[in-house]
Every structure is written in C-alpha cells, then in structure tokens.
C-alpha cells in the first residue's frame, strides 16, 4: 500500500486552501501540512516494512527476528543512499534539524548560498594571483569562494553527524522492537510505531550531541558561516562606500558614540539627582534648625529677664548683715 497519494492530496488541498487563509496563519498551517506529509511518508516506509515481514505466512518468532534483522539492514542501506545522494528530503525525519539550520541561515542573509558545488580543480584556480586594476576585487572574490567552501565543509561534517544519529536510531529501533517481542508486547498502530521511532531518534540525538566533538562541529558550522558572512558584509560596505552611502561600520560608530553619551548623561543625571537630593536634605535640615531656633525663647527675652533680675537685684539692696544667698534665694 502506498501513502504517496495521501501526501500528494494534502499538498493539493493546501494549494487550494492557501489563498483563502490569512497570511499571518500561513506559517502554522504549513507546519501542520509539512508534518502531515512527513508522517505519511514515514507510514509508507513503515507499511512496506510491515508487508515484507508479514508476506511470509506462518512465521515463528525466530524466523521473524531474522527477517527483522534483514529488514533493518536494508533500511540502513537505503538510509546511507539517501545521505550519499544528498537529495532533498533526507528521509523526511532527518531533514527536520537540517531544515531548521537552513531556515536560520536564510533569515540571516539575502543570499544564503554561495557558489554551487565547487570541485578541486576550481579550488586550484583560487590560488591564482590577482592582476591589473581589478586585482583587489579578484582577491576578494577568491577569498569569498574559499570561505564558502570552508562553510560547505563544515556543513558536510554537520550533516555527517546526522548520518551517525540516523544509524544509531535504526539500531535503537531494532533493539526496542526486539525487546517488545521478549516482553510479549505488540505495536499494532502506525502512530505507536512513529512515537517509538521519535523516542529512538531523540535518544540517539541526545547521545551524539552531548559529546565534545559535536560541540566542535556545531560551533564550526556557525563560525564558518559567520566568517563568510562577515566577508560578504565587507564587500557590501566597500560597494556602499563607493556609492557614497553610509556603511554599517559608520552607523555602528555613531550608535556606539550615542550609547556612550547616553551612559555618561545617565551617570551625570544620577549624580546630579544625588547631589540635588543631598542639597534638598541639607535645606530641610537648615529649615528645621531655623524653625527650632525661632521657637526657642528669644535672646532679648532672656536679656530682659536678666535685666529684670538685675534691676530687681539692684532694687533690693542686700542687707550686708544678712547672708547674700538667702536674699537672692527669695
């Protein structure tokens, strides 16, 4: 049984429906359609396997296990072929992480691809010295091609990791199915098999990508792409400069200076606010002191009292015969 018509009908259905769907929803619709198609392709492969396994009537479990081993070996071979042929749709399942990277690259550059397949003969041409008035541009273009080749190498290494993950997934799938037979359990729905397949894929992936060498391959992929892109930007800036249009480095310089000024302004503003705050507190303190001073009895009153006391003292003439303190005490 082939599920290809199912997958194709989904595509046809999408093409008919797409114009009537708001553009904002296109991305999510396409995801569902793509996963639906991917699922149909997976089920097609699965049904073929299943038909091969069940074409032998009255098989014993041992016979079945041998058939299963053979099926898995075929699956591995076809999987290797898919990768070696470098064709789009590396077995539907495997294109997911690779597609993610391609989409990311596309979003980073108007031109997400460099020269197409470059062979070794062409590589030798890159070492030719540039000559004449345009030698600078010749060198630039040679460098650009060399950097793109570096990126392609990095991408090939990245893809080869997925080949390993694929093989490991098939091994895990084989073992888990055999383990089911030991446990006396059966998978009897396409979806259950798909879920087991995904579990195996994630397990194999987690195992490979946590290794030191994957960290290097992954970083090299990004570093190589960025080196190429940086060179592209340099070329573009030279062109813009030639046309007397502001370049990115110039714009960056302005932004940097602006940010530095803003930072300085903020620091001063903060310092001024702090100074202002201190001054405000000082003024408040002075106000309080002044108020306290105003509220305390006036010195003139004191003097008046003293004067009164003095005048009283002078008014009452001390009797020299009496003790002075006693007189004042009254």
């Amino acid at each position: 049984m082939s599920t290809l018509p199912w997958s194709e009908s989904l595509e046809l259905w999408w093409q008919t429906l797409a114009p009537s769907i708001p553009p904002d929803n296109h991305a999510i619709f396409q995801k569902f359609i793509a996963q639906g198609q991917s699922y149909f392709r997976f089920t097609e492969q699965l049904l073929q396997i299943s038909q091969n396994l069940s074409s032998h009537s009255e098989v014993t479990l041992t016979d079945w296990e041998q058939l299963w081993e053979k099926t898995i070996a075929n699956l591995k071979n076809s999987f290797t072929d898919i990768f070696q042929q470098d064709k789009k749709g590396r077995g539907c399942f495997w294109e997911m992480p690779l597609d993610n990277w391609q989409q990311t690259v596309s979003s980073l550059s108007m031109r997400s691809s460099g020269p197409e397949k470059i062979n070794q003969e062409f590589e030798r041409l890159l070492s030719l010295p540039g000559i004449g008035y345009t030698q600078k541009w010749q060198c630039h273009l040679q460098e650009r091609t060399r950097l793109w080749m570096n990126y392609q190498k990095a991408l090939d290494e990245y893809v080869s990791v997925f080949r390993k993950i694929g093989m490991r997934t098939i091994d895990l799938f084989q073992n888990k199915i055999l383990a089911l037979s030991i446990q006396g359990r059966t998978l009897d729905s396409l979806r259950a098999v798909y879920d087991l397949w995904v579990d195996c894929g994630e397990e194999a992936y987690a195992n490979v990508v946590s290794r030191q060498d994957f960290g290097e391959v992954n970083a090299q992929l990004i570093n190589a792409f960025m080196t190429w892109k940086q060179h592209e930007s340099t070329l573009l800036d030279e062109l813009l400069n030639f046309l007397n249009i502001p370049t990115r480095p110039e714009f960056d310089t302005i932004t940097l200076r602006m940010q530095q000024m803003r930072r300085e302004f903020r620091t001063r503003q903060s310092a001024d606010a702090s100074t202002l705050d201190n001054l405000r507190k000082e003024v408040e303190t002075l106000h309080t002191e002044l108020k306290t001073l105003k509220e305390t009895p006036k010195p003139t009153t004191t003097r008046a009292k003293r004067t009164t006391a003095k005048s009283k003292a002078s008014a009452i003439q001390p009797d020299p015969s009496q003790p002075q303190t006693a007189t004042i005490g009254k």
């Binding site: 989904l10 708001p22 997911m96 990311t104 530095q260």
Partner: protein
C-alpha cells in the same frame, strides 16, 4: 506474538482518521481569529527607550506593602507568565496579595546594539527599582527573577543589597557549566566575537534554532502530530497557538550584552567563580544576605536543576529556601500544577518575610 503487527485495513483506517483530524483541525485554526495574550489588567508606570515597566492592577483588599518586581529574560517575551487567564503566574500572584510590577524589555533594534549588561542591570533595572520605590515611598522592594532575568536579578541584588528585601529566583542559571547543560556545551567553542561583530544584534531566529535543536524531532515534528489529535477543540487549539506564538516571538539580542553574557557567564562560568563585573563593580554573591527563595524545575532541559541549585553555596544568606517543581522549563509557567503550586509557594514565603 509478533512485536510489529500492522494490518493494512487498520492502517488505512488510521490514516483516514488522521486525515480527517488534520482537515478538521485546519478548519478550526482558520476560524480562530486573533489570539489574546497578557490580558491581566495593567498600566505602564515607567518607560525608557524600549523598556516599559508595568504595574498590574491589584485584585485583593489586603496587599503586601512591599511591591514585587518581576524581571524576565531578554530572550523571550514576558507574556509567558500571563499567557491566558487560567495560565497566569501574574494573576495568581495578584491573588496572593502581591503588588506586581513587570519589566517588558521590548524588541531591541540596531540602535540598541551597544547596550551592555551594565546598561541592563545597573541602568534599566536600577531605574525601575527606583521608580517603584518612589511610587511607594520605600527603600526596598521584593525581586522575582525568571531564567536569565533571575541571573540579572541575582547580580543586581549582590550589587545593591540595600534595595532588595527578598529575592526570588525561578529556573535561574547560576552554574553555567554543569555536565548536563547542552546549550552551554555547544557554546564553548563558539566564536562569539565573530558572531556579534558580524551580525551586530543577534537575531531571534538563531536563538530559536538553538532551542529547537535541543530536542529537534520532538519539537519540530512530533509536537505538531500530537496537536492534530486535539485541533478539533477550539480552546485546545487556542492554547496551542498561544504557546507557538510565544516560542517563535523571540526578540533580537543587543549585541554587546549578548557577547558579555555568552563569554563571561557561559564560557567562563564567571558567576560561580566570582569573576563577573557589571560596569566597574565585581559581583560577589556573598553580598546577598537577604532571604532567598530559589525555585527550579526538575525536568528543565534548558536550565538543568544543578545549574539553579548552585545558588545555595554562592550566596551569603542564612535564610535560603529551595523548592523543586516537578516539571520542565515551560511547564513551570503554564502547567496546571504550576498554577496551583508556584504562586502560592511564593505568596506564603513572602508573607512570612514581610
């Protein structure tokens, strides 16, 4: 019994059902209309550049007099904590009597390329804290940092202990080099200078790629197939689309801040070794002597539990509480269990430390 038993008639039936669900589901999707996120009532109380500080409208009579400022990560949008009324950390925190503020960092563009961690922590966060203190005539507030925002909040508290009464961290990375930290493992050999010098700001697409690459087959394939089973249900479809919206709503990252964060935190693991400087001040986590509540997710594939739990041995406080949440990095905001457990835990913890 054979372990693989797929009957053709059964398989055809299964594919027919799948096709019908897909068709019905896509019809549901086309009828959904716009999706609302972040619907809890709030008002903007402070703005600066692209940053907006929001205050959520209190919903209880008895309110904690010390406001709670939530600092979210730069890498995604903060409406994850207020995704929809029945999945809202914010709403449930309001129900516990917290006076909730939230920093929305906005979407940085080329003009923000030279924003540094100093600008974010000693600049934006500091001014938001001051704005809240002024509004409430207080010297200190409560701080709740989430994910990268938790790392920022921890640094801020270490640098300004007099400004924070209580610190809460949620799924916050502290030790960036635990063996199970896949993201960190991939970043070690990345030439981040080349990346930032080439791109300026770091596009959100790159971050999406990195996050999806953690579990590519599940996150880019199986998840959608699983969803097809529930797409006929309008509410389930809406919930799913809200999550999708959030996952792919990734702001670009200001180049310089990104450079510093990757180099100093991820590659050098500086926070663990006391070698982080924000501006001209060294971050010493021992300065954190205030109460700390650290909530982590036991199945977190982005911030492994050990990465968060490392906080305990770094801080100088005697009042340290650690709470594991049984779930993942996203589940801690949106799962049903999270709605029941996380805000209540935070509310009670703060109530005991008024």
């Amino acid at each position: 019994m054979l372990p693989l038993h797929l009957r053709p008639d059964q398989a055809i039936q299964e594919l027919l059902e799948f096709n019908k669900k897909l068709a019905d589901g896509l019809k549901t999707l086309s009828d959904l209309g716009t999706l609302d996120v972040g619907t809890t009532p709030k008002e903007a109380v402070y703005q600066e550049d692209k940053l907006v500080l929001y205050r959520y409208k209190p919903i209880t009579d008895k309110i904690n007099p010390t406001p709670l400022l939530i600092v979210y990560a730069l890498v995604n949008r903060p409406y994850m904590i207020d995704l929809q009324p029945d999945r809202s950390l914010v709403k449930h925190l309001l129900e516990t009597g917290q006076d909730v503020y939230l920093i929305d960092w906005g979407y940085p563009d080329r003009a923000d390329r030279y924003l540094t961690l100093d600008d974010y922590i000693n600049g934006y966060i500091q001014r938001c804290v001051k704005a809240i203190c002024r509004r409430h005539d207080l010297c200190k507030i409560n701080l709740l940092g989430i994910c990268q925002g938790g790392t920022f909040s921890t640094c801020y508290t270490a640098l300004n202990p007099e400004k924070v009464r209580n610190l809460i961290t949620m799924v916050t990375p502290i030790d960036f080099k635990t063996p199970d930290n896949l993201l960190s493992h991939w970043l070690q050999k990345l030439d981040v200078d080349l990346l930032v010098d080439t791109l300026g700001n770091i596009p959100g697409e790159i971050l999406n790629w990195a996050f999806l690459s953690l579990k590519p087959f599940r996150l880019t394939g199986q998840k959608y197939l699983d969803m097809i089973d529930s797409l006929g249900d309008t509410e389930a479809a809406k919930n799913f689309l809200r999550m999708e919206k959030w996952i792919f709503d990734s702001p670009d990252q200001a180049g310089e801040a990104f450079r510093q964060f990757i180099k100093e935190f991820f590659q050098k693991n500086g926070l663990m070794h006391g070698k982080i400087s924000i501006g001209d001040q060294r971050v010493d986590l021992k300065n954190i002597t205030i109460p700390v509540l650290n909530i982590y997710a036991t199945q977190d594939h982005l911030v492994p539990p050990d990465s968060s739990r490392a906080l305990q041995k770094c801080v100088g406080t005697a009042d340290y509480t650690e709470v594991p949440f049984q779930g993942g990095h996203i589940g801690i905001y949106v799962s049903g269990r999270a709605q029941k457990e996380v805000p209540v835990t935070i509310g009670k913890w703060l109530e005991a430390r008024r």
